[in-house]
């Protein structure tokens, strides 16, 4: 974290206008993402990138908690699914006996509110624990959520969940069209990414990192450590909630399987593969995960292996990355840049 912190402090000093301070790489990446629909086909836009941005956002909410707050929460996928359920219940779906059919400007804010409230309660329980116990308690809540939604037919419609959950026809656009959905998910992924980056240097985010490194000292500086951690859960839930609504619209359905134990753990895998130290990591992890999940089957079959072994590939990839680079792909990248900046013979830093 130290590397980025010094760089950001340095930017605070420079007098240049903010637009001039954006690195070239950001312009290139931004332009490439905006131009993508010009040369990518509908499948790539909708399935690969749409899904990547959504999973990236859910993993980003975990990165915010784990990277800045030191709290590894397995709850994020369940929160996303909860937001999806709430949109289906408050809004419209094919299950007309349960869905209230309220307009989107009521159902979406209400869905996010319920998600944030639920996360606040769960966070309040979880922040009293540390390390492995936080993982255990959030996993327990996630499992309870899975089994509860599967068995409850009055509110959650049990095993089959809700289908026909569609985005509103806002501005006369079909938001499930590949191009529209691509831009919709890109927009919210960008907003989430920038929000996390911004907040990480605002008093709340700085204090959260302080709480991660040294809770006792933070209390001695006047911070309520528990309240700060709970607030972090609430903020992360907002990101996971938005992603959950998008995820529900993408497949037009939400069911207990959306937040089964597999998907719940996958979010952790995505965040760790990408790297938990910076907000871009989860999106890198999500892209790798989505590519593997989409194409590994074909690759395996063409090699004469059983297609269902794609989970094995993801597992091996996870092992290799955790073994070689505990900081994920981002960690590998940082080390490569660090080595490039050193003289190969003496190991001294090169003048830049």
């Amino acid at each position: 974290m130290a590397v980025e912190d010094t760089r950001l402090t340095a930017t605070r000093r420079t007098e240049a206008r903010w637009i001039e301070r954006i690195p070239l790489a950001y312009w290139v990446l931004g332009l490439a993402l905006l131009m993508m629909p010009a040369f990518a086909n509908d499948f790539v836009l909708y399935q690969i990138f749409g899904w990547t941005f959504i999973l990236g956002m859910i993993a980003l909410s975990l990165m915010f908690l784990a990277g800045y707050g030191g709290m590894v929460s397995l709850l994020q996928m369940s929160l996303a699914a909860l937001a999806g359920y709430m949109v289906a219940i408050f809004g419209t779906s094919a299950i007309e006996t349960i869905s209230m059919g309220w307009p989107w400007y009521v159902s979406i804010p209400l869905a996010l509110l319920v998600t944030v409230l639920f996360a606040t309660i769960c966070g309040w329980l979880a922040v009293r624990t540390e390390g492995i116990y936080t993982i255990m308690i959030t996993l327990a809540i996630a499992s309870a959520f899975f089994y509860f939604t599967r068995q409850n037919y009055v509110v959650f419609n049990g095993f089959s969940g809700f289908n026909g959950v569609l985005p509103p026809d806002l501005f006369g656009v079909d938001w499930r069209g590949p191009k529209a959905f691509y831009y919709l998910t890109l927009f919210w992924a960008t907003v989430s990414y920038l929000a996390v980056r911004y907040v990480s240097k605002a008093p709340f985010g700085l204090a959260l990192q302080g709480v991660r490194d040294n809770p006792r000292r933070m209390a001695a500086l006047g911070y309520n450590v528990t309240a700060h951690r709970v607030a972090a859960y609430a903020f992360a839930a907002l990101i996971a909630g938005v992603a959950g609504i998008l995820l529900t619209w993408q497949s037009a359905q939400v069911s207990p399987g959306t937040a089964g134990i597999g998907p719940v753990v996958d979010i952790l895998v995505i965040a760790v593969i990408g790297g938990l130290r910076r907000p871009i990591g989860p999106f890198i992890g999500a892209l790798i995960y989505v590519l593997l999940k989409t194409f590994a089957v074909d690759v395996l079959i063409s090699l004469g292996l059983a297609g269902e072994r794609f989970q094995l590939l993801i597992g091996i990839g996870f092992l290799v990355i955790v073994f070689w680079s505990p900081d994920g792909i981002l960690g590998l990248w940082d080390r490569w840049k660090e080595n490039r900046g050193r003289d190969p013979l003496t190991g001294e830093r090169r003048e830049r």
Partner: protein, 266 residues
């Protein structure tokens, strides 16, 4: 609204300034069967500067931890400017104007000097939960910069704390304790490990604090302790052993035997 009880009125009146800055009544702290601190009663007036001396294991740092709420005492009451804070969590006591430094610097090593002090300033302000970044003319940022000047760390403003020298880290620790509007400060061995020059600077900072800002200083270096303090409390084996003016303590034969002559557990 119910009429305030007489005790509540008394509490509020005493909180307005007639009370002692710090008042400990029969405070004890046990770790299992071990008494780290036993039956301590101590009064410090507002603006008073007190040195706490004693060999290692005398209970000095335990005293500080109980006063700031790093952990709660086993028994006894602690009043801060008349208000009973015995059951308050640490952050509530800090928000009431109590500050402390740590014997082993507890700093945020990944952050820069300015960010460390800024965090300290934010912690005692109302902007703890602010999602907005500090603007260039931010008042808290300005007060953080003032504190940096006070402890002569201007040249290291944007240096990550991990790259600071030991002495600089000690100075940063002091700057963080001076954030906001402290009413009373606990310094835990601020001079430990400092060079003679840095010690002189430290004494200048401590003696230069505004008159209303009282403090307790734990210090092994008698030279530093007796120069900045107007009264001295000697602790030994978790109990208060002697209290008095610096000169009295220095000349006391029992103290000399115990402290300067090298105690059994020193």
């Amino acid at each position: 609204m119910n009429a305030p009880t007489t005790s509540a009125i008394a509490e509020r009146m005493s909180a307005t300034g007639t009370a002692n800055a710090l008042e400990l009544r029969n405070v004890s702290k046990f770790f299992g069967a071990l008494a780290a601190m036993e039956d301590i009663s101590l009064s410090v007036r507002p603006g008073e500067r007190r040195a706490v001396l004693g060999s290692n294991g005398a209970g000095k740092t335990t005293l500080f931890n109980c006063v700031t709420g790093d952990f709660l005492p086993t028994s006894g009451t602690i009043r801060f400017f008349g208000e009973d804070v015995s059951a308050f969590p640490a952050h509530e006591r800090i928000r009431r104007g109590l500050r402390r430094t740590y014997q082993i610097s507890l700093l945020f090593s990944g952050l820069t000097v300015i960010d460390n002090i800024y965090l300290a300033c934010v912690g005692v302000s109302r902007e703890r939960f602010s999602f907005l970044r500090a603007r260039r003319d931010d008042a808290l940022m300005a007060s953080a910069e003032d504190l940096i000047r006070l402890v002569h760390l201007e040249d290291a403003t944007h240096t990550p704390v991990a790259e600071l020298s030991y002495g600089q880290q000690r100075q940063l620790e002091i700057a963080m304790a001076l954030s906001g509007a402290p009413r009373f400060i606990l310094f835990d061995e601020p001079a430990a490990g400092l060079s003679p020059t840095e010690r002189r600077e430290l004494i200048d900072i401590l003696t230069g604090l505004p008159g209303h800002m009282g403090f307790i200083i734990i210090e092994h270096d008698m030279d530093v302790a007796l120069r900045v303090a107007e009264s001295v409390t000697m602790m030994h084996n978790g109990r208060i052993f002697k209290e008095g003016k610096p000169a009295e303590i220095e000349d006391d034969p029992e103290v000399q035997a115990l402290y300067l002559g090298g105690g059994d557990d020193g």
